[in-house]
């Protein structure tokens, strides 16, 4: 215990470039999460609509796609893509990444990581969106049709806006999971926070002060807990707001740990 709190073991945090090095890495994780989230939302919406489509083939194929990608480990997808993604795509990425983007983003591997994250999370979000849309009372779609709106119009103006609004809290929860998942990209040699933490702990070659593994990673853990906790509070607030407004029941989406409904006292 004293090992953990001994101030001598925390000296590394205040020497040299260490803290900044790690924080910059953390920022990279957050950026990857945000970019992946944006694309995953777009792809996820397309998948959800495909699944809800009245075309049975489309619905089946989309359903199969979602089920496969939801059930594979994300690290598996990321590793495979890093090894198997055609280099042409990676070259395109590297040529087009703007110079002001952080150094870590210059690597074509970020592309593989993003594709992996988007493939996985779009499948997850597709399920969330589908649950959100299906949780709408039938009356909504029936009323829309009765008013003369076509399928597409009723989707666009009645169902989707409400259904998607319902899934905002769940989406923020998924962002928390995404944040945590960005640490996995360290395995394919992107210098985000985990890699940087390891570099700092092994930099005894150059640095004067030793950075113990335990402390460095407790620090990194705290960074994540802080950001994710803030996000979870946001999600909780959004959910309460949503529930107050529309009386929506909490949706359950299977197979995802962060989608376990937060407990509310009876």
């Amino acid at each position: 215990m004293t090992y953990l709190f001994d101030p001598g073991n925390w000296e590394w945090l205040f020497t040299g470039n260490n803290a900044r090095f790690i924080l910059e890495g953390f920022l990279i994780n957050l950026e990857i999460a945000l970019i992946a989230m944006v694309f995953a939302l777009a792809v996820g919406l397309a998948l959800a609509l495909a699944r809800l489509s009245r075309n049975p083939v489309l619905s089946f194929v989309a359903g199969l796609w979602v089920d496969v990608f939801r059930n594979l480990p994300l690290i598996f997808l990321i590793l495979y893509l890093a090894l198997a993604l055609p280099t042409a795509w990676r070259d395109v990425w590297e040529e087009n990444v703007p110079d002001w983007a952080p150094e870590a983003f210059q690597s074509g591997f970020v592309f593989a990581a993003l594709v992996g994250l988007v493939l996985y999370n779009s499948a997850v979000l597709a399920e969330i969106m589908r649950a959100g849309i299906l949780s709408l009372p039938r009356g909504q779609s029936e009323a829309a049709r009765a008013l003369g709106l076509s399928y597409r119009q009723s989707m666009r103006h009645v169902i989707l806006p409400q259904g998607l609004r319902r899934m905002v809290p769940a989406t923020v929860s998924q962002l928390i999971t995404l944040n945590k998942d960005t640490t996995l990209v360290s395995i394919i040699a992107i210098t985000e926070v985990m890699r940087r933490g390891r570099i700092v702990t092994s930099s005894n070659f150059f640095a004067a002060v030793e950075a113990p593994v335990l402390h460095v990673f407790v620090f990194i853990g705290l960074l994540f807990v802080l950001v994710n906790y803030a996000l979870s509070r946001l999600s909780r607030r959004l959910e309460i707001g949503e529930r107050r407004r529309s009386g929506a029941a909490r949706m359950e989406v299977k197979g995802l740990e962060d989608q376990i409904p937060a407990a509310e006292p009876a």
């Binding site: 990676r90 110079d99 940087r196 070659f205 150059f206 707001g241």
Partner: protein, 297 residues
């Protein structure tokens, strides 16, 4: 979404992006080459050849280790990669008249990198052996390392025979995976992504020994003097630069650079800088060819 929460979320997002942009503003950046002309002293290659294309791009992508001192190591204080392999890579780039761009090549992806063009050249403590020669081409050996075993100074392990039943760490996809399986089949092999993990594991006692090239092990001893080398040489490990299969022009070019490097004294200087000053051991630049390197000793 409620008006307040929406604005708060947008503000958070903007703040994150702004922080990101600000933080990377101070990064030392080697600007990505965009048609930078090759320097006048460099021999110009026909733009249809691989070397010519590299010159047109203005940079050569070299895969090195980022966590294996003293050959390839990212220094967090300077944010640059340094080491023996890195210096060699810089020499190749300089001779070609382009900027070197260093990316990290971990053991199980460096060969695929060459195949799919992610890297033009691999300089990451890669041993020349018969299996790899089937997948890629190599330059002539630029360094001869020896396979050794590393343990804590108070360990009862004194050599290969003592490894039976002990936990031995080496990198996934390295030649030592097979070496240990063959020479010490009763050893409990622990495979990790990189040698920095092996160092961590032996330092915290999760493994009893690490086996890999002596220079990598020396890099570990420099960081932690409670470790030492034991036993005889397991293997001879001639390091070669990895090049995509079939790129004869590039192989010849790199060999030319290496020959010059060895003959004009730069090899010796680089050796002393990265290895010699720590091990007090002398070495001469290697004179083997790739064929000799693969031949069973």
């Amino acid at each position: 979404m409620q008006g307040k929460s929406w604005r708060w979320l947008v503000a958070m997002l903007l703040a994150a992006v702004a922080l990101g942009a600000a933080a990377c503003g101070d990064d030392e950046e080697e600007p990505a080459g965009g048609g930078a002309a090759a320097t006048p002293e460099a021999e110009q290659f026909d733009p249809s050849t691989t070397l010519g294309k590299i010159q047109e791009k203005g940079e050569i992508t070299i895969g090195v280790k980022f966590d294996v001192p003293p050959f390839g190591f990212k220094n967090p204080q300077s944010n640059q990669v340094e080491g023996f392999d890195v210096d060699l890579g810089k020499a190749v780039a300089e001779k070609l008249g382009v900027k070197p761009k260093f990316i990290e090549a971990i053991s199980d992806n460096r060969i695929p990198f060459l195949g799919d063009g992610t890297a033009d050249l691999i300089l990451s403590t890669m041993t020349i052996n018969a299996e790899r020669v089937m997948e890629i081409d190599f330059s002539d050996p630029y360094y001869i390392a020896k396979g050794r075993i590393l343990t804590k100074t108070d360990s009862p392990i004194k050599g290969l025979a003592d490894l039976a039943g002990k936990r031995v760490c080496t990198a996934l996809g390295s030649t030592y995976e097979e070496t240990i399986r063959e020479q010490a089949p009763k050893a409990d092999l622990k495979l990790v992504d990189s040698y920095s993990e092996c160092l961590e594991l032996i330092q915290n006692g999760a493994v009893d020994a690490v086996s890999t090239d002596d220079v990598i092990l020396t890099g570990m001893i420099i960081q932690d003097d409670t470790l030492h080398l034991v036993g005889d040489e397991l293997t001879v490990e001639p390091y070669g630069a990895g090049i995509k299969k079939g790129e004869k022009q590039m192989v010849d070019f790199v060999n030319g650079v290496f020959d010059e490097y060895k003959q004009d004294g730069r090899w010796q200087k680089t050796y002393d800088k990265w290895v010699g000053q720590y091990t007090d051991q002398q070495q001469e630049p290697p004179t083997q060819t790739v064929k000799e390197a693969i031949a069973p000793s």
